[in-house]
């Protein structure tokens, strides 16, 4: 029995490597579970335990790497809910192995960083518990082989993010985001940690509900949640397509990803999520939470592409355009925001828009693997530089004690290491040509869009290029405002009060230095890495999904086979990429680094000022959200509830209660407490049973 299970799980046989795939996600959960107990032993021990479990998980992830290089996958399953034949399992394949390593190692670095950043916090036990829980849930999403387990991880991530965003639930003013007192359309534009946590939880829950619906629609037709099983027998897809349910189900599933990855229209929670401690922001933005959505799309992408014959192209179109819109929307908002973490947050949403765009375009193009690999490459490089940037921003916050960039300035001399490594990571974000990972991944996306053969590829490309220029601009703006120019008044006052502006400790700067260097190193050899990824993923896709050689479906015009995508550098894409960087970077340099132009000029012209206000107030989306989804429904709810409660609940419930209580009294009246009565009933009972038997 148990033996059978073990054998099924491949633990006994020599599919031994699968055990690491189990360990990767079980270890953080186990660590989280024992943290409260270990905390009783001692604070040091507790912190080391957290680090230790994160490391163990990361090493388990690393042990899977050979499998990725072999380009194959292992499917290890055990019985879970046998009643409806649902199995639990892990499915390490090249995609998930790379992802799991990214998650594991970046979170390990973040955990190290936390030992410095969170030092002395009174609730550190809770912090470690939720961090490990967070990592475990994310790894569950990455490695599991079926949608149901993914959903469990998904909810776990949601829960942990709620707990971590609202970690400082005692709502001190310094932990807020937004400028206090700022209102747009009557809605407060600032948020306390507990409010932000709740907002993130509810908004992602909207996505989760859609995902659940999509999942079960597919389950009803296919009878399985497993990715492999869905691929093997595609009769369900035909049936669903026949009833016009396939694309809606797929889009609903994508709704979950939209919520988690903070894509338009569920993007608003991401900004308030900055109330969490900075390592949490780094974790949410670099490796876990928001990447979960992208990963889900990447996981189901090939499957749905294999189903392209059933009209799945519509789904990919939705994905691509949602990505493009988000990328643009959030980039415009990033340009005007004064808070460093929020700029980074906008940028995350925008960059994830790129990834979605790439994954969407993959499904719309001849060569699925180009877009797919580009999106995935972008995910990798973004994970590295964004984690680095967040940790760097955290170092600034730690030293300065203010979240506003207007309170910084001129910090370059005081925080040398932070400056250098943040600059390196920023270059990657801004996609500085040829030497940064960001450049190569973004260029791959451009090329993929251009070569896709999708009918509306050009508008998409246009959006992508504009966003790239804006990205370069706000990146330089951020660096300029924080590190260049004169010290702000705030800093001067601080120094007068005797505060010394100092560099952070090594357990904080080393983690983000490692990542910053890694992103540049990747960039230097980017021309090799890109094609490598394409090769591996391509081989894997051909082998396991049968994607890559043949033309998938009608409705996609066939473009001639393009030139080499990566180092062969599609000329148009490369030119656009260079140009966008140049424009953005130069503008940013002039205004914020060299400080030749005062940014105040926009407030002098009424048009530019209106635009600025529009962008600053986040296109009034937050206002709409609150009026439409919170205040309005609450009012309606109150009205309905008043009538409902007074008439129906008050009417039915007591009647039922009294009836039941009456019967209960009858039963209890028989229970007289007198043994003889009981024995009499027993005797009568014997007679009754015997008579019933003989009847």
């Amino acid at each position: 029995m148990v033996g059978d299970n073990l054998k099924m799980a491949g633990i006994v046989g020599f599919e031994g490597i699968a055990i690491f795939a189990w360990l990767v996600w079980i270890l953080p959960f186990a660590g989280g579970a024992i943290i409260p107990a270990v905390a009783k032993v001692g604070k040091k021990v507790r912190d080391y335990t957290a680090v230790g479990f994160a490391l163990a998980s990361a090493i388990s992830a690393a042990a899977l790497i050979p499998l990725a290089f072999s380009g194959s996958e292992i499917h290890s399953q055990i019985n879970w809910i046998s009643v409806v034949n649902v199995k639990a399992g892990v499915l390490p394949d090249p995609l998930s192995i790379v992802m799991t390593n990214l998650v594991a190692w970046i979170s390990f670095l973040i955990i190290i960083y936390s030992t410095g950043y969170m030092h002395g916090d009174r609730d550190l036990t809770r912090y470690w518990f939720f961090m490990l829980f967070f990592i475990g849930s994310m790894q569950l999403i990455v490695l599991s082989d079926n949608l149901l387990m993914v959903f469990f991880g998904w909810e776990g991530v949601g829960l942990a993010s709620y707990a971590l965003i609202g970690f400082w639930y005692y709502d001190k003013k310094k932990d807020f985001v937004g400028s206090i007192g700022d209102r747009a359309g009557g809605i407060a534009m600032w948020a306390s940690p507990s409010h932000a946590g709740m907002k993130a939880f509810l908004m992602t829950r909207a996505g989760d509900t859609m995902m659940l619906a999509g999942m079960f629609m597919i389950f009803i037709y296919s009878g399985t949640f497993g990715f492999k099983e869905l691929l093997q027998n595609q009769a369900w897809a035909a049936q669903m397509a026949h009833q016009n349910l396939l694309v809606p189900a797929a889009v609903l599933l994508f709704g979950g990803a939209v919520g988690k990855s903070a894509q338009f229209p569920l993007n608003e929670w991401l900004l308030e999520a900055m109330t969490g401690p900075t390592p949490v922001s780094a974790l949410i933005h670099a490796a876990t939470m928001v990447k979960a959505g992208v990963f889900l799309v990447a996981r189901i992408g090939p499957l749905f592409f294999a189903l392209a014959a059933f009209g799945m192209t519509q789904f990919f179109e939705v994905v691509a355009w949602v990505g493009a819109i988000t990328a643009f929307l959030l980039a415009t908002q990033a340009i005007v925001n004064p808070e460093i973490k929020k700029v980074l947050a906008y940028s995350t949403g925008s960059q994830i828009g790129y990834m979605m765009m790439a994954l969407g375009i993959a499904g719309l193009s001849v060569n699925f693997v180009d877009g797919y690999a580009a999106g995935f490459f972008q995910l990798m490089s973004h994970a590295m530089f964004k984690a680095s940037l967040f940790m760097g921003a955290g170092a600034l916050l730690h030293t300065v004690g203010s979240r506003f960039m207007t309170d910084m300035g001129g910090l370059r001399k005081h925080m040398r290491k932070t400056y250098i490594f943040m600059l390196l990571a920023s270059l990657s974000l801004a996609a500085a040509p040829l030497i940064t990972a960001g450049f190569w991944s973004k260029d791959a996306i451009f090329a993929a869009v251009l070569e896709s053969g999708y009918a509306h590829a050009l508008p998409l490309f246009g959006v992508a290029v504009v966003v790239a220029a804006m990205t370069a601009f706000y990146t330089f703006r951020m660096i300029g405002m924080a590190f260049f120019g004169k010290k702000s008044k705030y800093l001067e006052e601080m120094e007068q009060r005797g505060h010394h502006l100092h560099e952070v400790g090594p357990n904080m700067w080393v983690p983000f230095a490692i990542l910053a260097v890694a992103t540049i190193a990747t960039g230097v050899v980017g021309f090799i890495i890109g094609p490598q990824i394409t090769n591996y993923l391509g081989g894997y896709l051909v082998h396991y999904f049968g994607i890559g050689k043949e033309v998938p479906s009608a409705g996609v015009s066939i473009a001639p086979e393009g030139g080499k995508t990566f180092f062969g550098l599609n000329p148009t894409a490369a030119a656009a990429s260079f140009g966008a960087f140049a424009i953005g970077a130069i503008l940013g340099y002039i205004v914020y680094i060299a400080r030749k132009v005062d940014p105040e000029i926009i407030s002098r012209n009424i048009v530019t000022r209106a635009i600025w206000k529009f962008l600053y107030n986040r296109w009034y989306l937050n206002t709409l959200l609150y009026w439409g989804a919170v205040i309005g429904p609450m009012a309606i709810y109150r009205i309905i509830w008043r009538y409902f409660e007074s008439t129906i609940i008050d009417g039915i419930s007591p009647a039922f209660q009294y009836t039941m209580a009456y019967f209960s009294k009858v039963v209890r009246a028989g229970q007289t407490g007198i043994t003889q009565t009981y024995l009499f009933v027993f005797g009568v009972g014997i007679m009754i049973i015997v008579m019933l038997m003989l009847l």
């Binding site: 029995m1 148990v2 033996g3 059978d4 299970n5 055990i78 019985n79 879970w80 809910i81 046998s82 009643v83 409806v84 034949n85 639990a88 039941m660 209580a661 019967f663 209960s664 009294k665 009858v666 039963v667 209890r668 028989g670 229970q671 407490g673 043994t675 009565t677 009981y678 024995l679 009933v681 027993f682 009568v684 009972g685 014997i686 009754i688 049973i689 015997v690 019933l692 038997m693 003989l694």
Partner: protein, 514 residues
């Protein structure tokens, strides 16, 4: 005679030797009364070794698959092992929590010794294949519990409970002797297997006697199981007995009653070619309804738990009533038996923990317990929710299997689905009082909200139970598999053709046919 290294004999040996050694050690000790921890430790160790041995035997695959016939008085099969594991878990939980409960109470040596002896009885019931062995094991289980129920000698309640329990117990065991005598008289043997074979080809004139015997068996075992006309003693005894012993009675001896019933009643009735399932179905519906109604407006927590265990017996009986029609139903019963053993003992032990610290069983004392005794409160809540069958706890799955089987049986017996409906309605009804307790613990504030120290051993036991309930709720496959393997294949009992029921037994119905 059974194999010398068979599981039941080894279990008897280990527990018997330790059980008898404890009072002997006590007799030689100079100072009296303060050795609670020592004896608790010894008893706990012995039980752990025993359960380890049973599990080892099961895993090593040397245990026979569930068989019905054995030439000896004991068999070493999976059915027995399943019950042995369930019952030993209960004994372990009770012993471990008694570490706190018995603190400062008199005569711990006898207490633990009696628990161990009673455990042997419970386990042997599950393994026995002979009616004489069954009766002797039954008495070995019962007699120590009479004494245990009366163990709080200064407490009139405990004594009252013991008297009620004893009177019923002695009566039912005499009735069992009578019933066994009848079976022996008409079949000429006391071996269950042989007598069932003999019953299957019974001379027509003797069938009424056979049925009378089965009816008396139902009465005799039904008393322990808490089936409805025989249930009256149960709330009083469970409430009055020391609370840990309440756990032993509700979770342990009750389950042993089911083991005996499965071995004897179901098989015997099978052999008799008479449609008896309706009788059990009616009893099942009455049992669960009456249990839930009785629990609805009680003030004492152990009493609520006692009524709830009557109701749960009703659910389990669904599976037994449907046994001829689907193996899945019996699987569900076994699964629910194991789950209920853990859930109910967790409930009683939580009540014992509260009683040990706050010195009250009254529900009013539970107000604000969520803050006063957080671990106890959460464990208690989880066990209540599991009892109510809230997903994803383990109680949900066993009820799902049971009710599912009842619905599936609709193709064979028209009244099958009604049992499922009755079960679901009753679960909803039961949620009423379970939720009420939880509400008291978390939503209401008592006059005293200060935090109190929770008894450590009980907390450990409760944590174990929580892990069990949640863990096997999330991943119930192993237990379900074990249960489905432990179910005896009833279709093999009777030589084919001689029995009209054998035609409708789906011999290879698996759970996946849902």
């Amino acid at each position: 005679m059974a194999d010398l290294i068979s599981t039941p004999l080894i279990v008897t040996l280990i527990l018997g030797v330790v059980g008898l050694a404890i009072p002997i050690i006590d007799a030689f000790k100079k100072e009296r009364g303060s050795n609670n921890r020592l004896y608790s430790g010894i008893a706990f160790g012995a039980l752990i070794i025993t359960i380890g041995f049973v599990i080892f035997r099961v895993l090593s695959g040397e245990v026979m698959p569930a068989v019905l016939f054995s030439k000896g008085v004991l068999t070493d099969d999976l059915f027995g092992s399943f019950f042995a594991i369930a019952l030993l878990i209960v004994s372990i939980m009770v012993t471990a929590s008694s570490w706190n409960y018995m603190k400062g109470r008199i005569n711990p040596a006898a207490y633990y010794s009696l628990i161990l002896l009673s455990s042997i009885g419970m386990v042997l019931i599950a393994y026995s294949t002979d009616l004489v062995m069954l009766l002797v094991a039954w008495e070995l289980m019962s007699i120590p519990t009479y004494a245990l129920a009366a163990f709080s000698k200064r407490d009139p309640i405990s004594n009252e409970a013991a008297i009620k329990y004893f009177m019923f117990g002695a009566l039912s065991s005499a009735i069992l002797v009578f019933a066994i005598g009848l079976v022996y008289g008409i079949t000429g043997t006391t071996n269950i297997g042989s007598s069932i074979q003999a019953m299957a080809s019974l001379q027509k004139g003797l069938v009424p006697v056979g049925l009378l015997a089965i009816g008396l068996f139902i009465a005799g075992f039904g008393f322990k199981m808490g089936l409805v006309p025989f249930h009256m003693w149960l709330p009083d005894a469970y409430e009055g007995a020391p609370t840990t012993i309440g756990a032993l009675l509700a979770a342990g001896t009750k389950k042993a009653g089911f083991a005996a019933a499965l071995r004897v009643i179901v098989l015997g009735m099978f052999a008799l070619n008479v449609d008896w399932t309706v009788t059990l179905a009616i009893v099942a519906v009455f049992t669960m309804t009456l249990g839930n109604l009785g629990a609805l407006i009680q003030k004492s927590v152990p009493r609520i738990l006692a009524y709830s265990s009557i109701a749960q017996a009703g659910y389990i009986l669904i599976g037994i009533a449907l046994a001829p029609y689907s193996n899945q139903a019996l699987t569900g019963s076994l699964f629910h038996i194991l789950n209920h053993a853990v859930m109910k003992s967790a409930g009683f032990i939580a009540a014992a923990a509260v009683a040990a610290t706050l010195a009250s069983y009254s529900l009013e004392k539970y107000r604000g317990l969520g803050r006063r005794m957080p671990i106890t409160a959460i464990a208690f809540s989880i066990s209540l929710l599991a009892l109510a069958g809230v997903p994803p706890l383990n109680g949900f799955w066993s009820k799902l299997v049971l009710f599912g089987a009842a619905i599936n049986s609709g193709s064979v017996v028209a009244w099958g689905p009604y049992l499922a409906i009755a079960g679901v309605l009753n679960s909803a009804l039961s949620l009423g009082y379970y939720a009420w307790i939880i509400r008291k613990m978390y939503m209401e504030e008592g006059p005293d909200m200060s935090k109190v120290k929770e008894p450590r051993a009980m907390v450990a036991v409760l944590v174990f139970a929580m892990v069990f309930m949640v863990g096997f709720g999330v991943w119930h496959a192993p237990i379900l598999q074990f249960a489905s393997k432990a179910v005896p294949h009833l279709s093999n009992i009777v030589p084919t053709g001689s029995n009209h029921l054998s035609n409708i037994v789906p011999s290879s119905k698996t759970l996946h046919d849902f």
